[in-house]
Symmetry: C2
Subunit: 314 residues, 2 copies
């Protein structure tokens, strides 16, 4: 059976193989996704992010387990753009610790940086499509690190859960503008720690200050390690999806995400075009030499490069 059919059929090994191919920017994988794209859109994609030490992976595990009780098929993508100075050990722990890996109804995949952050975002979005075709009802995109790039990746989900922890205290105001806005649901994890209600109140107050919100995101207190409040969180995640569908917002959000994705894909294609053209022409090398010699400035150099690709078939 062909890889495409096996994936549609829910074959785990085909799924794993296709995600690897997507990570390697394999052309056959892209063709398969193109062919099967009409089978996507059924999964509820949930982004999970928050500050370091928030217990994101434990919480994701518990959510997955709660959904497994309903016999839902679950995919988890752990996104980890490894710091250049710490290696990938965190990610290793993530995979080792999860007993979910033994559950055939759950597909877990870790995504590290492949040279480039843009590449990580692309690989993640490709993996979401593969898991969607594979038949997942729910797909979690969980960030291990917490940089801007991860926030951008999580934004591509249908529902974004922002995990907070008590003791963040006054620092909530230090959370970068634009980050709070991506949260559809707030979960104050480790709520057995001192200060949890205060943190929850502070989040609510911050949300109240935003007059442009059509829907007030719920703020929950949970303890993922003790499985407390997780059913509640699952309910809120489902409620958010219903809201999005009823208010016709799901379509809007997916359109906006599609737009971002198309632009990124176009960007990448054009760059590869410039590099291919350069290989045959040596133009870029010559111009770069001129820039280094201060014979031409980089901005005029850019214009020359753009001129050079104007008349070739894209």
């Amino acid at each position: 059976m062909k890889l495409a059919e096996r994936l549609l059929d829910g074959d785990r090994r085909a799924c794993a193989r296709l995600i690897s191919m997507v990570e390697n920017n394999d052309k056959e994988a892209i063709e398969i996704i193109k062919e099967l794209y009409k089978h996507t859109g059924n999964a509820h994609v949930i982004g999970i992010t928050g500050p370091p030490g928030g217990g994101k992976s434990t919480l994701t595990d518990k959510l997955a387990k709660a959904l497994r009780k309903e016999n839902k098929k679950v995919g988890i993508i752990a996104v980890d753009p490894t710091s250049p100075f710490t290696g990938g050990s965190i990610l290793g722990d993530r995979v080792r610790m999860s007993d979910l890996a033994l559950d055939s109804g759950v597909f877990i995949r870790s995504m590290g940086t492949r040279g480039h952050l843009g590449g990580l975002s692309k690989a993640t979005q490709g993996a979401v499509k593969v898991l969607d075709i594979f038949g997942c009802d729910y797909i979690f995109i969980e960030t291990v690190g917490v940089g801007q790039s991860e926030v951008d990746i999580v934004k591509t989900a249908d529902t974004v859960v922002l995990i907070m922890v008590p003791g963040l205290g006054d620092d909530i105001q230090a959370i970068k503008a634009g980050t709070m806005e991506i949260g559809d649901i707030f979960a104050v994890n480790k709520s057995d720690l001192f200060g949890a209600p205060k943190t929850a109140t502070e989040i609510k107050m911050m949300l109240d200050m935003n007059p442009n919100m059509e829907r007030k995101p719920p703020v929950l207190q949970v303890i993922a390690t003790k499985n407390e409040g997780m059913d509640n969180l699952v309910d809120e995640i489902k409620k958010h999806m219903s809201y999005m569908q009823e208010a016709n917002k799901l379509q809007k959000r997916r359109e906006s995400n599609a737009k971002t994705e198309i632009i990124k894909l176009a960007e990448e294609e054009i760059i590869s075009l410039i590099l291919r053209k350069n290989e045959t022409m040596g133009l870029l090398d010559d111009i770069a030499k001129g820039v280094a010699m201060r014979e031409i400035d980089p901005y005029s150099a850019r214009d020359k490069i753009l001129d050079s690709i104007k008349d070739i078939t894209i």
Copy 2:
């Protein structure tokens, strides 16, 4: 007097203003840099990076002070792509703590994220050019954070100093492949801490394992807070520049950096072209709608967008 002339004349306020304009992607600033680009290339650009807690900003301060004793004009760009979850407090400290800010022969500028990481890299490279025209003999690009994007920014320097600290111990092996390779000089800072010689030895051993190195980077032990070993480090920085010039490597490195910069600029221009075109045509909106409805896949959507800009003037 015009802004361009004032900058060439070494006017600090003109310099500050132009860097701000560059950060805001101002067209007039680009025109000024184009006009004055032939006056760049004289500064020795030094990148400083390393793991968190390495004492990067203290070390940069001491290096700047050592160079000030020789009456050199120094620029410092502190690059801080603020984490979405921690705000910009580190950067504030950086600026407050530095008494260098009072020295008229030193120009310090902090660069935070402006919405986009690509933007940060571009703003930093623009600022380097402005400081070069301004007449700086040395320009430090110091990273506050330590993500992959910062490493990429630091790579654009003529000389890269990687700061390490004792106690990193076995973790040196956890440093991401490709990161060690960017170091032209290694400085083990805080060398009064236990384990400093061991760390230095480990770095040397790792460097020995790389057979492709034409020049073995020196590994120094320093204590920036006590100003110990800093003259040595300054010497090594200068020696590296001499080596680069004599071996004709400076030109090569600057060519390669120019190439990366030109490609990024072209990328950005093309995206802005796609967005401008979209405004008048609504094409991107329609196609994104189609993708969200699963009527067309994102890869075919990309091809349509690329087709649409083929015949317009870039």
